[in-house]
Structure formats: C-alpha cells, structure tokens
Symmetry: C2
C-alpha cells in the first residue's frame, strides 16, 4: 500500500522536524561549467527582473525600491532552502495585487505606512509558510481546485489590467474590485492626460509587438532561435530605456507626465514588521490567502520545470523555502514574494542549472540598486503600467471556461463563481467563494450517490449495470452496487433505494450489496445499514455483502452489525450469486 503521507525521513525522528538544506546537495558538486551556465542565466534574469520588480511594486501601491529589495534577500534564502533548481522568486503580479488589496483594506488608511504594512504582510506570510512547511501541511493547497485557481488567475489578470488603466490614462482612480475601478475610471474620462496616454499606449503597443513580432525579426537578423527568444523577453527593458531617455530629454515631467522619481540608492534597509496584535488579526486572512496562492503558483511552476529535467521538488520543502524568502523580504524592506512563472521559464531556458543562479541574480539586482537607481528617476509610470498590462493579459484564459463546461458542470460552476466573485468583490472574497462553492458541490455530489442494480456478464466473473449492459439477473436476488463511500450525507439515500426496491420486488429473498466502490462506512452509515438489515429481516429477506475492502472489513469486524447480519459476507460478487442463486449462472440463462 502506498500511503498518502511522505515517506518518513531516514534517521532520527526529530530530524523530520528540521528543514532540509538542499544547498548541501548541489553546492558540493558545484563546478566551473555550472558556474558559467548559472552566471549567464542570472544576467538575463536580472535584466528581466529590474523592470518587473519596479512594476509589481507600483501595482502593490508601494515605492518602486521595495520591488528591488524584494528581489535580493528572498532570492538568497530561496537558494539555500529551495528544492527547485530553477525557480526564480520575487514580487509577482497576482501576489502584488493581493498585497495591494490587503493594504487597501486596512482602516484607517495610512495610519501605518503602506511599506510598513507590506513588510508586516510578508512577515506573517513567511511565518505561515514556515509553519505549514514544518508541520507538513502542504496538502492545504490541494483544497484550491484547478477550476478555482484558473478562475482566480484570469480574474486577477483582468483586475490588474484594469487597475493600471488609470496610470496609462493619467487620471486618479482607485478600487480593489472591477465595479469600483470602472466607476472611478468612467468618472474621470474627461481628464485623460494626452501625453501620458501617448506614452502608455505607445509602450503597450510596442510590448505587444515585442511579444509576437520581435523574435521572428531577430531570427531574420541572424540570431539563433534560443537567443532571439531570450532577447525578445528584454522588450520591457528597451521600452524603459527609450521612454526614460525621452522623458529626460523632452522634460515630459514639466508637461504633467508622472515619473518614478527619486529611488533611494544603496543597500536594502533593515526593517521590522509592525508588532500590533489588532493589525495582525486584520492581516491574518489576507496573509493566509497570499501564502496559499503564492505556494500553489510557485509549486506548479517548479513542478512543470522539474519534470522537464526528470527532477522532483518537495512541496513541504518549498513551503519552508518560500517562508524563508518572505521572512527575508520582511526584514529588508520588501513585499510578499513567490516563485514567478515567466522569470523561472527564462531562467530555465537560459540554462540555469542550480539555485546559485538565483544568488547571482540577487547580486545583479543589488548592483542595480547601488548604481542604477538615479537613472530610473525619469522613468514614466505609464511605461511600467504598460509592462504590467502586457505581462498579465497572458494570465487571462477564457478558453478554460469552454473546456471546463464541456467536461464537468460542477467544475464550471466553481470556475465561474471564482471568476465573477473575484472581479465583483475582490481577490479575497473571490478566492473564498470559489473554495466554498467547490467544497459544497463536492459534498452535494457525494450526498447523492450513484447506486446501480447489477447483473452477471455471461462468460465472466463480472457484474455490470443492468441499464448499460446485457446481463443476467434473478428475481429472488437483488445485486446493488453503491458507487460511493457511505457516510452521513448519503446513508439515508441507500435506505430509500433498498426500501423502494424491496417494495417493487415481491419475489425477493436476498439483497447483496457489492461494496467494491465503498471505501469507508462511517457511524451514520453503519446505523443505516443496521436499519436496512432490520427491515429486510422483518420482511424475510437476507442482506449480504460482497467485495468488502480490507480497511472497511477491519472496521466492521468490531461491530454488532456483522455479528447479527442475517446473510453472509462474500469475497467476490460472483461467489455470492453462485451460492445464493446458482441457476442465474447456468449456461443459456435469460439475459435481462
């Protein structure tokens, strides 16, 4: 039997409570070719990460420097604790949106600065991730179903794009869900700032073209496919350099264009989270949701990339590593971080072999923080908004709606609920609504079990649904297959089905429950079985069981139910029919 739990660590029991240090594995075998590969990947990721860090800090409503700070210490810590070889952590779009919503929900606004709230949120998220990792609670993430994640990511992409419209249009607007954002925007449409719109729309158009047209162009100019692919990812850098130079040369600031302005030059600051229990209570739920969403996003990226190189990642170890990364962000003026999809793919494609690439990337960002920040003074905010919009629109996938509808209506309902609730109510309410709906639909489905009357498939030892197959049945014997574990929510349904079947079959002498799909029988269901047995007994009908699973049989053995059962327990359903109504299995028996 394969247990659902991770295999116990070898060695002493207390060791399982200590986080592993994957760095000890790959660090020992580090050689010069690996160094070269990692350095090249780090250079490319650094160039990509600088604009992303600035942009996602802006998305979170934080000073641009916090984005750079969040791309230094977390990368170093992830390199020590992380089990993925190529995951690149830092501020990512969805988590930054959730950070903005959490900061925006604190009342009174501005009582504590937004940056202080961000490091407190990173601290709480780090604590939760570490606790989940050390307590092996990674399975919590499994309760975010795929449709809920899909709906949430698509809605987040739309919300993020909508939130950046104000910056692209040069109007003030605010709100953490679509109705508020759109209402706020429509009220301001008269005050659109022409120059801002030109820079924003121009950058957006260029970045879209860079995604689609730049790679073929570079290839025609003689670059190799892989080189062209990576160079095309540097499109945002080109947009930033061009618009920053133009803003400086043409003095666009004087014409009302909003620029990034002063970005402090130097090492990341040492910061402390705000220690205030009331504030922690307000931030606890957002921090939990940020932790779980960040973990799910990160692990799915990590697993996808690990599989390509036949490596494995350890989800519980990832929790520890992401927890450490967020702690790093909390104490160095950052914001909540997680593993990002685009940057990890670039890191992978650029040839990164070990997490050391992350260490070199962190040093690259540190150098930028020390040297480059004065050059960012004239960077237009509209350019950053354009990079965000172009990056997140790839998150939006409406095709999943159609595919999910075709496969499963309950999954579609969960997806649509998450999507609409996230758009209409914001990220936290949307996510909770999605989880609630998917759990409720699961319970609803299991509470109405499929119960099939089965008959013998001639020439085999198998029994199949009488409504789907040409099978043989016998009037004195009713074979029922229950296609669900029996538990409190569905136990009474079985009683009803048996009662109705008995009332409809006057010749009935035996009822055999084929238990091959019954994985558990809880105390409520045991009561129902006892009630069924009592009623059948009074009607002169014997109740039998067949194909009872080992664990279920172990449980039943301790009960009065088996001791007082009027019928027998058969190893196979075939044996049951052979013993109770052998004429059913005679050659040439009539097919039902």
């Amino acid at each position: 039997m394969h247990s659902a739990r991770p295999p116990a660590a070898n060695g002493k029991a207390w060791r399982r409570w200590l986080p592993a240090l994957p760095v000890l594995d790959w660090g020992r075998a580090y050689d010069r070719p690996t160094l070269g590969a990692d350095l090249l990947a780090a250079l490319i990721v650094t160039v990509m990460l600088i604009p992303q860090s600035l942009a996602y800090a802006q998305l979170a409503g934080l000073p641009p420097a916090t984005g750079l700070y969040a791309s230094i210490a977390p990368l170093l810590l992830y390199a020590v604790f992380g089990s993925s070889r190529v995951l690149a952590v830092g501020p990512v779009a969805v988590v930054s949106l959730m950070t903005a919503a959490a900061i925006g929900s604190i009342t009174p606004p501005g009582a504590v600065g937004a940056a202080a709230l961000a490091v407190t949120l990173a601290f709480l998220s780090g604590l939760m991730l570490l606790a989940m990792g050390l307590l092996r609670l990674g399975f919590i993430a499994n309760f975010l179903s795929h449709p809920v994640i899909s709906g949430f990511i698509s809605a987040s992409g739309l919300l993020i794009a909508a939130s950046q419209l104000k910056t692209l249009l040069g109007v003030p607007a605010s709100g953490h869900h679509l109705p508020a954002l759109l209402h706020s925007l429509f009220g301001q449409l008269g005050q659109v700032h022409g120059l801002t719109l030109a820079v924003g729309a121009g950058s957006t158009a260029f970045l879209f073209w860079a995604r689609i047209g730049l790679k073929p162009l570079l290839q025609r100019l003689g670059l190799g496919a892989r080189g062209a692919d990576i160079a095309a990812k540097a499109g945002p850098v080109a947009a930033i350099v061009a618009t920053t130079l133009a803003a400086w040369a043409l003095d666009w600031q004087a014409q009302g264009l909003k620029i990034v302005g002063h970005v402090p030059q130097g090492l990341p600051p040492f910061t402390l989270p705000v220690f205030d229990l009331a504030l922690w209570q307000q931030l606890a739920l957002p921090a939990l949701l940020i932790s779980v969403v960040g973990f799910v996003e990160s692990v799915s990226v990590g697993q996808t990339l690990a599989a390509r190189r036949r490596q494995r990642i350890e989800p519980d170890q990832e929790l520890v590593a992401l927890g450490a990364g967020n702690m790093g962000a909390a104490f160095s003026g950052g914001l909540p971080v997680t593993g990002g999809f685009a940057r990890s793919v670039v890191n992978f494609d650029a040839g990164a072999r070990t997490p050391a690439a992350g260490v070199y990337t962190a040093f690259g960002i540190l150098l930028a923080t020390l040297l480059l920040t004065p050059a960012l003074y004239y960077l237009p905010q509209a350019t950053l908004a354009a990079t965000i919009v172009v990056a997140v629109l790839s998150l939006v996938d409406f095709g999943i709606l159609r595919r999910t509808w075709a496969y499963s209506k309950p999954d579609f309902a969960a997806l649509l609920t998450t999507l609409l609730a996230t758009l209409a109510l914001g990220v936290e309410a949307g996510l909770l609504a999605g989880v609630g709906v998917s759990l409720a639909l699961y319970l609803w489905r299991t509470s109405r079990p499929h119960i099939a009357t089965v008959g013998w498939v001639p020439g085999t030892e198998h029994f199949r649904n009488v409504q789907r197959h040409a099978v043989v049945t016998h009037p004195a014997l009713l074979s029922l297959r229950v296609d669900e574990s029996l538990y409190f929510a569905n136990a009474r349904t079985l009683e009803d089905v048996v009662n109705n079947a008995v009332a409809a079959s006057p010749a009935l002498r035996h009822v055999v429950l084929q238990c091959s799909a019954i994985n558990d029988i809880d105390a409520s269901a045991l009561e129902s079985l006892e009630a069924i047995e009592r009623r059948l007994h009074e009607a002169g009908i014997a109740l039998h069981l067949s194909e009872v699973k080992g664990p279920v049989m172990d449980r039943l053995q301790h009960t009065d139910f088996l001791r007082t059962l009027s019928g027998q327990v058969f190893l196979t359903h075939y044996q049951a029919v052979a013993a109770l109504a052998p004429e059913t299995l005679a050659p040439g028996a009539k097919r039902g």
Copy 2:
C-alpha cells in the same frame, strides 16, 4: 439505476409543486372501529400532553398557556398534511431549549415580549420548513450526521436538566450554556428555598420511581401489561394533581413557593409574528437550526414507528406538515413544535390508527384550555421542573461515546466536539461546530485516499492488495487500485504515489489504474491524470485504465486525455494483465 431523487409524481408537472394531502387517503376509509381506537389513544395522549405542554413552555421561558396553545392548531394541521399515521406533534424538550436560547439571545432583551418572539420564531421556522418541503430540500437534514445528533441530544438533555435546577432549588439563575448556568447556580446556593426543594426533590423522586417501579406495581395489582405501561406514563399527572392540591390546601404560595398562577381561560388567541426585518435576520439562523433539528427528530420517530407497521413516511411531505404545524403555532399564540418521541410512542402503543387521533387530542387540549386552567393556578413550578428533568435525562446517552470510539475515531471526534461545544457554548454554536467538524473530517479523509498496489489472486479473475493477500505481480507491470473518487483535494496525492512508484521500479513498462472504486474524476483530477500520463510517457512507460465506471467513461470520452492516452482502457483488470503481461497469469507463477 436507482436515482437518488424521489420518483417524479405521476400526472402534470405542476402537481409536484403542490403539497400532497394524505388526509384524503386515510379519511375516505375512516370507519367506526378506527374511530374507537383513535379516540382511546387521543384520551391517553391528552392526559400526557397537558403537563408536557406546560413544562416545555416553562422550559422555553414562556407563559404556561403558550404550551397548551401549541398543542392545538399544530396537531390539526399535521393531521391534514402529515404522512405519518401516529406522530404526535407539539412542544418538545430540545426544540423548547433552542427556543429559549434564541429568545435569550435577542438584544435588547424584552424590547419585544418573549411570547411575540416565540410566535415569530415559529413563523420563520414554519416558512423554512414549507420552503424546504416544496423545493424537496429534505436532504439538507442528512448533513446532520448521527454522531452530531447523538452528541447534541445528550448535551441538550444535560443543559435542560441544569436549566431546571434553579426552579427545583427555588433560586434565580440564568444562562444558555453550562458554565454560565453553573456559575449562576453556585453563587446562589446559600439561598436555596427549603419548601421548593422539598416539592421539587419529592416530585423528581416520585417520577423516577414511576418510570421504574409503577408499571410492575400496577401489574401486580391486576392491570394488563399494556394498560400498566400506559398508566405508568401518567405519573406526571399524579404528581401534578397531588402537589397542586397540597399547594392549595396548605397555602404554600404564602411560604414562598412559586406557582404557575393565572392561566388565561378560553380559545387560543389569534397572534401575528413581528414583521421586522432586523429581527428576522437575528432569528434566521436559530429558526433554521430549530427547523432542521425538529425535522430530524420528527422524521426519525416517524420512520421508526412506520416501519413497525410496514408503512412509509415521506420526508419531503413531513417538511410540509411540520411547516404547516409551525405556522399554526405562529398564528395561535404557540411556540415552535415538532414530532415528539415519548408522546408518539404512547399514541402508537395506545392503538392510534390514523392522524385523526391527533385531531381528537387537539380537541382534548382545547377542552382543558377552556375548562381546566383555573385548576392549574396552584400548580408548583417545581413540579413542572421535575417532570422536565425526569423526561430529558433519558436523552442523555454516554454509552454512545464508547461505542463510537470503538468504531470510528473521526466520528468520535465529531460526537465529542458537538457534545462539549453544546455544553460550553450553547445549542447553536454546538450544532454548527459539530456540522463543521464532521464535514472537515470527511474532506480530510477523502483528501488522503487509500491507494493499494494489487496483484492477481491465482485461479480467479480478481486482484487484491499485495500487502493483505498472497497474490502474483510482474516487475514490468504496476497495478494500482485507487480507493476514492479523484477530485481536487486528492488528485495530487495520486501524482506523488505514481511518481514514487516509478522511481522505485526500473523495470516498469506499464502502469494500470484499476478504477473500480473511482466514482468521479473532476477537472482537477483530469489535469493530474494528464500530468501523470505526460511524465510516464517521457519515461517510456504506458498508462492504462481498467474497470472504468460507465458515468466516468462517459465524461472522459469528451476529453483529450483519452485520445492521447499512450495505453488502453480495459473492461476488466484481468484483461489488462492478460494483454500486457500474460506470463503473470501462467500456472505456477511466483506469488509476491
């Protein structure tokens, strides 16, 4: 296939939305012998119901007359709509306790009178029951698992007994959970009223004796067994008559004994619920819980008694009937009602054949209200408290703790949580905690599925767990049986198990998932299967399925998963092994 839904009503579709009128069935065949049997039963139930009605009104913190009123109109309405032949409705202990808690939770207390709150609660509960009945939502009650109900009923019995101690001791005390009640009582122990204690303790002792010793005594005096049984149930009437006469003759009221006092004489009043949306919002949750608990209690009594006469009751029809009964209580000065266990058993044992017995009982109570109420003036409240205490202690069943512990630890956890939370936090919080814990434990269990490696049982077509049976396996073929439906909460576990198994078996060429216990595969699980297939394919291993259920196969047929599957789908696992590794099934194959 038996559907979990009730069979569609014959006739026009709109008819299914109309409540049925069982009175039309039994009313047509009503004859003189039935009349005689029903009249006798009604007489006996009336004698039993008068003290119970007064006592449960006192328990709910309401004037005694409301209990009598609640035993008139609801009985008439239940007789028209109810599907049980012998259920006796009226105020019952647990529902009265919940009514007291709901009324006590309204702030500011006393802004609306308690009696007005009680009729409003009955009105809301009636509305909800009617709606649940007409929308066929009776399955909601299935989410109250047996352990939760057991724990709740036992805790309610203790809470009720504790709440009556103050009346038995003659001290003021209050509270809706055990800590508050006991704290309040212990603070007053110095002021115990001697005469009240004497009457209360004497009545309690007498009633206990009447339960145990009266029936044998009456039989020795020459009464038949059935007659003695029924006469013994009249113990409370004897206690009431005796203590009322004593209180009148000895003027106990002047010595500080609390008596029932003035009970208005005459027809039940016409009352209206309070129409106040804010109040309705406060009462909505209590009304829902009262409705569900009352329904579960009533249906379990009704089913038990119906089975004894091979009759059936219709749960959805019972919802309508109980809803009508509560509406009747709301408009005639009553309190929430449901079917009571003790009185229904008495009605059954006394020979009631149709719900007409309930009609005659209602007239009996009406006569008492018209004629008897002046005689109740001197009835000591302590006597009523004694009848309550003795009645409810039979609800307390600690043996269920031991039995549930032996059978299932999760069920025990749900039972204990409900029991302790109800005692410590009150009826509403206790019930909600129980439902929450039982659902969470169910989800927890299904999120860690049992996945067994299976092998061939020689000489059969069956496969069993390699760890439990002597079976045959093959190094190139891995047979996994998943003992749970695959859904979001457990899909990734299967990925882990397959990954680990593949890593441990270098000779592996085929993985066959035996799907006999998989009743559903949701969209998240489909993603996981696709991921498994991709990874196996890259490792040169084919993925096959066997024994896929019809409904699951229907779903998969629309997907890319089946089209791109590297392996095959086999009707039986035996066929899969015969096709992929036939040497496994050779005679004399090595047993694993």
